[in-house]
């Protein structure tokens, strides 16, 4: 029997498990293949929904479904996170002391926000990367009655459109509340333009200029002085704020660091085959890789589709049949009722189009369609 063990039940792990279960359904029925999915939780969260929780447009309860309900029959699922990767002996050991041998291992444990890594950020800045933080951000926005809103972005971070989306959505939120003329926006960004993607940065600059949003680039947060309400940058700037909204720096999850699989919790990964460097039978998906690509659900989605095809071919023919070409597709909310998108791969940069209401509606529809997407039906 060939054993495939997938560690991590987020977007990438769930799509991959379902993709493989369908491709290898006859082998699974014949007990020639077993697919085991190990996750830290028996719930699955739609993480992009946190942005809407921060504006009171989704309830946190709406972000969850039971993990089992999303899985194809035949997948063995345990809500039992891995604590030890014993790659020399092709096995993993879980928190509950269960040992799982494998022929092929896939690691997709994701990333987490680390506001505590910058002095003062956890205490004084809002963010949207956990349910508690997103709900707190909504309370902060509701209470805010005018002043200077500063947006700061840590490196690296998950979902690269969030700094822009938060800014545009706050702009429209305060406009709806009738206090926009009492709010000053100051957007900061770590590199020399307003977004990583050059074309998105150019587009955002035009939008910011027309909305009167100020900005400072080459700005990396060093610390927050909560008493003086000031942000200090690594580059030497000091910026005053009344409301601080952050995109905290991220790292891989602790189990990756504890098993010394990669600096920062990011596992060295081949960008085309998704194999872990030095381990032919270990693959890495999504945020967990060190590939220089967006840490986003859509990245994990496209990687999972390529890897599903390759793992099925490895089981059946002993070869891999395709390369992951760096495909990413990200929606960009440009306010409360307009959106655009960025679609790109390793060779082709995005060409963002002017935002429309139709793309915004499609994004809202995708917030529901996600559950079909993660089942591998979309």
């Amino acid at each position: 029997m060939k054993k495939i063990v997938i560690v991590g039940g987020g977007t990438g792990g769930t799509i991959l498990a379902n993709n493989l279960a369908r491709r290898l359904s006859s082998e699974i029925k014949a007990r020639d293949v077993r697919i085991t999915l190990l996750s830290a939780s028996d719930k699955h969260m739609y993480q992009p929904g946190l942005l809407y929780v921060a504006f009171g447009r989704m309830c946190s309860q709406d972000l969850y479904q039971d993990q089992m309900s999303l899985l194809e029959p035949g997948i063995v699922f345990h809500a039992d996170p891995v604590k030890e990767f014993d790659m020399d002996n092709n096995r993993v050991v879980t928190e509950n002391h269960a040992s799982h041998d494998y022929d092929h291992l896939v690691i997709c444990t994701g990333s987490r926000a680390n506001p505590e890594s910058i002095p003062g950020l956890a205490e004084y800045a809002n963010h949207v990367y956990t349910v508690e933080a997103a709900e707190q951000t909504f309370r902060s926005l509701q209470k805010f009655d005018g002043g200077r809103v500063v947006i700061v972005t840590g490196v690296p971070h998950k979902c690269p459109m969030v700094p822009l989306e938060l800014t545009f959505m706050m702009h429209d939120y305060f406009k709806d509340r009738g206090i926009l003329d009492q709010v000053e926006f100051y957007y900061t960004y770590p590199i020399g333009r307003l977004h990583s993607l050059e074309n998105v940065g150019k587009w955002a600059q035009g939008e910011f200029d027309s909305m009167g949003i100020q900005y400072e680039t080459l700005f990396n947060v060093k610390e927050i002085d909560g008493e003086k309400r000031q942000v200090h940058s690594v580059e030497g700037s000091i910026v005053d704020y009344d409301l601080l909204v952050s995109i905290p720096p991220h790292s891989g999850v602790p189990v990756i660091l504890e098993n010394a699989l990669g600096a920062g919790g990011w596992i060295p990964t081949n960008p085309a085959t998704l194999q872990m460097e030095g381990r032919d039978n270990v693959f890495v998906l999504g945020d967990t890789t060190n590939i220089p690509i967006s840490k986003a659900g859509s990245t994990a989605h496209y990687e999972a589709e390529a890897l599903g095809e390759n793992l099925a071919a490895l089981v059946r023919q002993g070869i891999m049949v395709r390369a992951y070409e760096g495909k990413v597709f990200c929606f960009i909310e440009a306010g409360k009722d307009r959106a655009t998108y960025a679609s790109f791969d390793y060779k082709h940069p995005p060409q963002p189009q002017p935002p429309t209401q139709m793309i915004h509606w499609f994004k809202l529809a995708y917030n529901k369609l996600y559950w079909n997407s993660v089942r591998g039906l979309l």
Partner: protein, 76 residues
């Protein structure tokens, strides 16, 4: 002398070479050398600009077979 920490940001549109380098710099120790590989021509300008602004050390910047090799040292 220890080998530089290599940051292979070739073909990276997002987050891009400078963001990749800042992430690696955040993990590095003072005195560590980093070598960034980039296929983005803007990197040859914006990485040295950031290095100078923050006060790190630019050791080398060269182009070979359409790839930029930029070596820096974390100074603080």
């Amino acid at each position: 002398m220890s080998k530089p920490i290599q940051v292979d940001a070739r073909n990276s549109f997002c987050p891009g070479p400078l963001m990749e380098m800042i992430a690696a710099m955040n993990l590095a120790e003072v005195g560590d050398e980093l070598e960034i590989l980039s296929t983005d021509k803007g990197s040859a300008d914006d990485i040295p600009e950031w290095i100078k602004k923050v006060g790190h050390e630019l050791l080398d910047c060269r182009k070979e077979d359409e790839v930029y090799y930029i070596r820096v040292r974390k100074a603080k």
